[in-house]
């Protein structure tokens, strides 16, 4: 498969992922700690249990992507 298609485009986007992620290490650590806490706690992990932390991470990530695109 040559030329640009869905897979080549998504792979290109994925290549930027680590660089953008590195700029949000703090938010990522907070989110990770929130989820890791549920594995040891008494409550089972449910949907959106760490939604707030994830929103912070996602905002940081999309901002980093916007800065990169400029």
């Amino acid at each position: 498969m040559s030329g640009s298609n869905a897979w080549t485009r998504s792979r290109e986007r994925m290549r930027l992922f680590p660089e953008l992620f590195a700029q949000c290490a703090g938010e990522a650590a907070t989110y990770g700690r929130c989820v890791a806490a549920t594995t040891t706690g008494r409550q089972e992990l449910r949907k959106d249990m760490c939604a707030k932390e994830f929103e912070a991470l996602k905002t940081c990530f999309t901002n980093a992507a916007k800065r990169k695109a400029k």
Binding site: F17, P18, A28, A29, V35, L45, R46, K47, F54
Partner: protein, 333 residues
């Protein structure tokens, strides 16, 4: 991981080396699903046959991986495990005139065997494209069967092991290495937690593996004797979860189980990366991925092999154990 249908015959240049292993002839067997009637049907198991993996998909994945221009960068795991299997072959003080390498790919095992003989002579090789579950050989053909990191995509593992046992000559040996047990548990757990938190449920992304405890039973049922099973952990450090998945894809090890979900949401990937780094990350920011390699050695039964002693043939008693520590009465001057 060879591409397409190839029937290449490589002959050794010059005389075979006069080392302890003697001369070799090898047939290599990459995976290829034949269109057997029972396999082409639905994903549910029929009769006694398990149907967990889509073999057609696995063949396509391996061909894609083999066609990559810079595919050599993904060979590190196979080279390492191939070297350890070659070590085990060398541990056996015997000459093997005819050997079979199942799932040989780029012949990682043979590469290590040639180097140790410190000669540039190539082991004479024939390559065959065939299905691991339908070995196209007569019984009692091979002195040695090796397999490295390809048995974990076989649907009917008991059947495949039985066929390996059949194509071996009596007193032949099978040395295999397969990923099993807790391989990639960090990846599996990170994805599971991320999917649960982001999407409310999770589906399996890492394919199922054989546990160490089951391996002994499998080999025994297949008719092997004098079994040896041991476990080795290979831990590889990666910068991030994307690199883990890219490398697995490049190795031709993408998931091909029927029950896999083909989609991974970008939110889930982001969440999984954060969880992976937090829960399993190393101090320098890299993340480990564990490959638990199970090594197995099994022999085809033969009269020359040691058998358990007959009942009642003991000529020492357990009661004599207490006398061992006491010094015997020898002449002391």
């Amino acid at each position: 991981m060879s591409s397409g249908v190839c029937l290449r015959v490589l002959r050794a240049a010059g005389s075979p080396p006069a080392a302890s292993s003697g001369s070799w002839s090898r047939v290599r067997l990459p995976a290829d699903p034949r269109h057997a009637p029972r396999r082409g049907l639905s994903a549910s198991g029929r009769g006694g046959t398990m149907n967990v993996f889509n073999r057609e998909m696995k063949k396509k994945q391996k061909e894609w991986a083999a066609s990559l221009r810079d595919g050599d960068q993904f060979d590190y795991l196979r080279d390492e495990v191939g070297g350890r299997v070659a070590d085990r072959v060398y541990d056996i003080v015997r000459t093997f005139p005819l050997a079979l390498d199942i799932g040989g790919g780029k012949s990682h095992i043979a590469g290590h065997l040639s180097k140790k003989q410190s000669r540039r002579s190539e082991i004479p090789t024939h390559r065959l494209l065939a299905d691991e579950e339908f070995l196209p050989f007569k019984e009692n053909t091979f002195d040695l069967v090796v397999s490295s990191l390809s048995l974990h995509w076989i649907n009917d593992l008991p059947g495949a092991l039985r066929q390996i046992q059949q194509v071996l000559k009596p007193d032949g040996v099978f040395i295999g290495a397969m990923v099993g047990g807790e391989t990639l548990y960090e990846l599996r757990c990170s994805l599971q937690l991320a999917e649960t938190e982001r999407e409310g449920g999770f589906s399996p992304h890492v394919s199922p593996y054989t546990a160490v405890t089951d391996l002994g039973n499998l080999l025994g049922r297949a008719g092997f004797s004098m079994l040896t099973v041991d476990v080795d952990d290979v831990q590889v450090n990666y910068p991030g979860i994307i690199e883990v998945m890219t490398d697995l894809q490049g190795m031709g090890e993408s998931n091909c189980a029927w029950n896999r979900k083909s989609l991974l949401h970008r939110d889930t990937i982001l969440a999984a990366e954060a969880i992976y780094k937090e829960m399993y990350g190393n101090e320098d920011g890299s993340i480990p991925a564990t490959f638990e390699i199970l090594y197995m050695i099994g022999w085809k039964p033969h009269e020359s092999q040691a058998k358990p002693a007959k009942r009642g043939s003991a000529n020492v008693s357990f009661g004599d154990l207490s006398k061992i520590s006491q010094p015997t009465n020898t002449n002391t001057s």
